[in-house]
Symmetry: D2
Amino acid sequence: MSHSVNKVVLAYSGGLDTSIIAKWLSDTYGCEVVTFTADIGQGEEVEPARAKAQAMGIKEIYIEDLREEFVRDYVFPMFRANTIYEGEYLLGTSIARPLIAKRLIEIANETGADAISHGATGKGNDQVRFELGAYALKPGVQVIAPWREWDLNSRESLMNYAEKHGIPIDYQKQATKSPYSMDANLLHISYEGGILEDPWAEAEEEMWRWSVSPENAPDTPTYIELTYENGDPVALDGERLSPATMLETLNKIGGDNGVGRLDIVENRYVGMKSRGCYETPGGTIMMKGHRAIESLTLDREVAHLKDALMPKYAEMIYNGYWWSPEREMMQKMIDASQEHVNGKVRLKLYKGAVTAVGRSSEKDSLFDEKIATFEDDEGSYNQADAEGFIKLNALRLRIAAGRKG
Amino acid sequence: MSHSVNKVVLAYSGGLDTSIIAKWLSDTYGCEVVTFTADIGQGEEVEPARAKAQAMGIKEIYIEDLREEFVRDYVFPMFRANTIYEGEYLLGTSIARPLIAKRLIEIANETGADAISHGATGKGNDQVRFELGAYALKPGVQVIAPWREWDLNSRESLMNYAEKHGIPIDYQKQATKSPYSMDANLLHISYEGGILEDPWAEAEEEMWRWSVSPENAPDTPTYIELTYENGDPVALDGERLSPATMLETLNKIGGDNGVGRLDIVENRYVGMKSRGCYETPGGTIMMKGHRAIESLTLDREVAHLKDALMPKYAEMIYNGYWWSPEREMMQKMIDASQEHVNGKVRLKLYKGAVTAVGRSSEKDSLFDEKIATFEDDEGSYNQADAEGFIKLNALRLRIAAGRKG
Amino acid sequence: MSHSVNKVVLAYSGGLDTSIIAKWLSDTYGCEVVTFTADIGQGEEVEPARAKAQAMGIKEIYIEDLREEFVRDYVFPMFRANTIYEGEYLLGTSIARPLIAKRLIEIANETGADAISHGATGKGNDQVRFELGAYALKPGVQVIAPWREWDLNSRESLMNYAEKHGIPIDYQKQATKSPYSMDANLLHISYEGGILEDPWAEAEEEMWRWSVSPENAPDTPTYIELTYENGDPVALDGERLSPATMLETLNKIGGDNGVGRLDIVENRYVGMKSRGCYETPGGTIMMKGHRAIESLTLDREVAHLKDALMPKYAEMIYNGYWWSPEREMMQKMIDASQEHVNGKVRLKLYKGAVTAVGRSSEKDSLFDEKIATFEDDEGSYNQADAEGFIKLNALRLRIAAGRKG
Amino acid sequence: MSHSVNKVVLAYSGGLDTSIIAKWLSDTYGCEVVTFTADIGQGEEVEPARAKAQAMGIKEIYIEDLREEFVRDYVFPMFRANTIYEGEYLLGTSIARPLIAKRLIEIANETGADAISHGATGKGNDQVRFELGAYALKPGVQVIAPWREWDLNSRESLMNYAEKHGIPIDYQKQATKSPYSMDANLLHISYEGGILEDPWAEAEEEMWRWSVSPENAPDTPTYIELTYENGDPVALDGERLSPATMLETLNKIGGDNGVGRLDIVENRYVGMKSRGCYETPGGTIMMKGHRAIESLTLDREVAHLKDALMPKYAEMIYNGYWWSPEREMMQKMIDASQEHVNGKVRLKLYKGAVTAVGRSSEKDSLFDEKIATFEDDEGSYNQADAEGFIKLNALRLRIAAGRKG
């Protein structure tokens, strides 16, 4: 805030708000602005951002398709841990921020910029995620968070600023703007604000964008088969798909079947509760599928250890600590656990529900029909062993029950 | 096994297998047999067990309705912790065993019995749950587990034994016997064995007993409103219900909407994996409802601590350690966390899915619209604080990024 | 900072710095100042603070002896958990702050003050501990932290301020001031700064104040016997002592034997590492004694669960979250675990080391000589049970070793 | 027990008990016996075992020096985690068993043996550790545990068996046999039994073998300097030492200074409590040194995560799960954490106590004097940041304090 800035890399969506920020940065800090626009599957063209940036006189413009990198290096590693925040949330927004932070810093290094900037507000988690990532990757970087600094805190003052500085406003788009604050990437789309600020109010059907309502989903179920290698889904119904294509395809299939809607109140890292709605069709399918293939191939104690640590791992990602040594250390353990997580899962999708109906693994199954059977197991398991097992596990309980105190 | 037994209390269902056990105990150990039959909501009449026991010459016959106690003192306390085993299983079988174990021991104490017996096999979890409970509550008790001892290991030898000893066999019932091993109580019904022993095979529609298929569920959603007090559901759509009535009613509503089917491979405590299918309609609703009311009323760190410990708590219950000091100690913490978990939840049930669509709490809500709002918050939250928050949280990351090594 | 303040309660030591703060608060905020001085065993008279406060025109002066409350309600509950931060630190400073915070708020409520103030700097943990406590107990309170606000950041400017405002300076005391920043209460005395800022430099012998060096301790060991009730030490060598007297006495005995010195680098909550030296003679003895009595009376799984949660609990206290729902919830569990922690421990103190040499519990011992013996146990334990125990525990490992993948 | 055995590999110490076992195995199972004797630093010659085995007609005799492997691949990896069981025990016995188990199985594979055998009793932890390791590494192996099978349960019957079968008895050695059950390796020596079976009785001075009493240790302290690389001690006072030489040397220095004695009651995996005394001089030094170098070089959250998981890791090793997927997975995380744990530690040893007095790391220190200093930090740290940090961390507490419920 107080230091002078020479050049700043801005996470630029091409929309009105970040266009205003670009102008404001240049005016306030007298610095050069580099824009960075990424396609992470938000479903909007990113190329139009170029012309908009050029129109504002931006000279260094980065526009990139990061979809494959996003799914391969962020989404998949997270799903290996069955990561869920507060029992419900699949972390769709959280997991996209570290990638943006990393590219902002890399571009800062390439362009000789000494600062980065973003359009996240001072109340949310995203500012934390962007900035923790930035500081971890480039400790001396300056961070400019306009929403925490400027006095353009109403829609009206923003519009005035835009008009005054010649930033084009698409009035039609503004007029039909969604009442919700939304964020989208390949993993999900989120909704906050509007009537959702009353946690008792049900979300309106027209809010949802990625999925049909369960009521409008097909009357017959859809079955799919996912192939897993080392914990990642690599093929759908036998066809190998790249990470991003896999997630896009699952989003489509899931959305068509009403899968993946979520409506929760969550705890933000900055200390408040907030209401959010999410659509995560592909992620919901992947979560079910991964649990199912792990159930067949993962050792019990490995699975339980993963479950015990998962909430901590989810918290790290939610709070913005992807680029921290503790997250990297934990990832080592999670990845090591996936060596044998290979095989196929059969899933049924029907009007909002995903059910695992079959799982198999040629080489890595730990399910032993000979031992588990209710029929004669021909000596694979000696039932008499159970007595000793129980007796010794009970010993401490018996001694305690027998004490005088 | 080696000690002499004077009197044994048998967990007696009234069915063929435990009738054979009653006879076998008396013949093998030359001891008196006391039968104990409990209604825990399995959906079968328990009173007929009296005549059957009398016909075998049993003198001390206990038949009890434990449904309220079961839900109030076992199911509800477990749900306060949002307990799920291995990410999926709601522990329907596990949670019923401690109550049976407790009553077996209490009846042993009342009748002067020195042993208890049960019909669980040597491969499963239930033997462990019964016996750990028994030993914890009466350290010197003897436990007779016929399935681990006798040589009646095929259906044929069992039938021969029954015929030889004059135990009446309902041949029609035997002929139409389900191919699945089933267990039911107010919380769920479970299925194992048969074609489920192939984890790739989908369960047949006719297997499921408590719920209609999502496909056959009504085409319009059902909305319900649950009122929570200290973490327990106490009223449905404004009407106060006793614990057992609450669960029964939710089972009915859930089952009618195709809610609560589960198909998993799980890790047994005795070391093997097994495939199980479960119907837990009411429990599935309660899980969603409890998460929703907690999301509004529970402090973030309390919620996260609960989430971190939940897998351990689930493991304790699954493995049979309900009557252990570690479970009791953890319950103290869980119960303490529920003081403010009061309010209402609105849920939508539709073709297998349960969605929370609203939650409110007059006195205990921690959701502060003034702070969370995207609109002007009139100074409730100072966005500038976020900078210091992020800067200090980033400090260790920055120092690490700057080190020479 | 920005709001107007009517009356502020200041944590007042009676020393020069907090006297300057009292004056500065009055001048800067034009508010009334209430002083609060507590004896928590820091080893200095608190009564002289009265005259000093009066001399500055303070009208509401609180001087209190909180030693018993401090040990009974803060130190003892913490020791029930065997609390150690980062493997070494017994949290002597951390545990005193919540009590001060609580009294500051209670006095604010009594005197109608709308603010509190303290003399902790902006780099340390204590500001956090004071302020989190204050906000948790009185959410609307204002906190004034002069060290974060004023420009008196050198010793020289402070002295000038004092001279200018007529605050008496004891120049002799200033001249012989320790080069270390110190903090003391009944649990410990701490040292920071000076040559300790070089983590390679050994602390000078003359720095330590509460203990003789091990080299100068007696050449013969001292034996003591501690009696525990519900996890707290209640008698020393058979004589019942109040909590504060117990800790004072153990400090004396420990200090005489060179017990309780510690030299560490620790991680502050605000993100930096710092070097600290501590003397905790009585606490070191209590830690060893508590572990010893628990080893005899606590169930294994209860003990392991406590050990697993202890680092989290220590972190809560270190970071200043004593007055948080998560700490209170965890305390419920810890306290519940201590029901049977009754008995006697015999300890040997010798030149800096404390060793447990004996432990007994008439009613609550879980040590069963009949079972543990290497001699003939007359059938208390059936060694054959071990085979089944091992076989079933090994089952999952064997299945995994046998898989094809 | 029931299966036929062709060839068995016996963990053979060369002493009377395992000589009797060798004979008993051959007689009882009519099988060939292979002996395996390892030097893991127990302090006795292993070569004499050859002649003894030959005298019994053993044809395949393995005698190996495993000291370097033991310390490098088992002790050091464990110390990277600061592993302590139940707050006190450094796991000296536990950590040696996995190596023996591994070699037993490797030798079984080399010699075509189908079974292994050991001399551990049915009451202790060692049987579990040997057998879990064996089953994990060779799932079909048979394990013969004579102490759980035979009827030679008194010293007298053992001696009779030896005499009858021509096993030479050193009567002088038997007569002067220690009253304690002892076990030794490079990490420690342990004592159980005898008067230790009374947990109130203090161990006799003459019991201890590896260390002088603190009272008899030198009157002047000894200072040493340990160099760490990736968490392992690699040089002592500047001289590089192999892992085994390092531990041997530290044992000598520690033992000379009375360091490393421990007297505890511990919880065995088989369900009972037992009293044990241990001497771990080098290990005690290594624990202190490792904590000290980590305190300077490890990130706070990494350190706290390690502390939170350490009890679980210690439990795994104590209970015998070294060769399990969960231990291997956790080791991956621990090893990854040690990348930056490089530097030097200065330790003071004096009459039983080890104190860290200095620590430094040229490239990996995270201690930043500029930031931590009590003096002017020239702007490295902005104290004003602390206000925002505290305010946001307090937000949830304030909202909770303000609720109506």
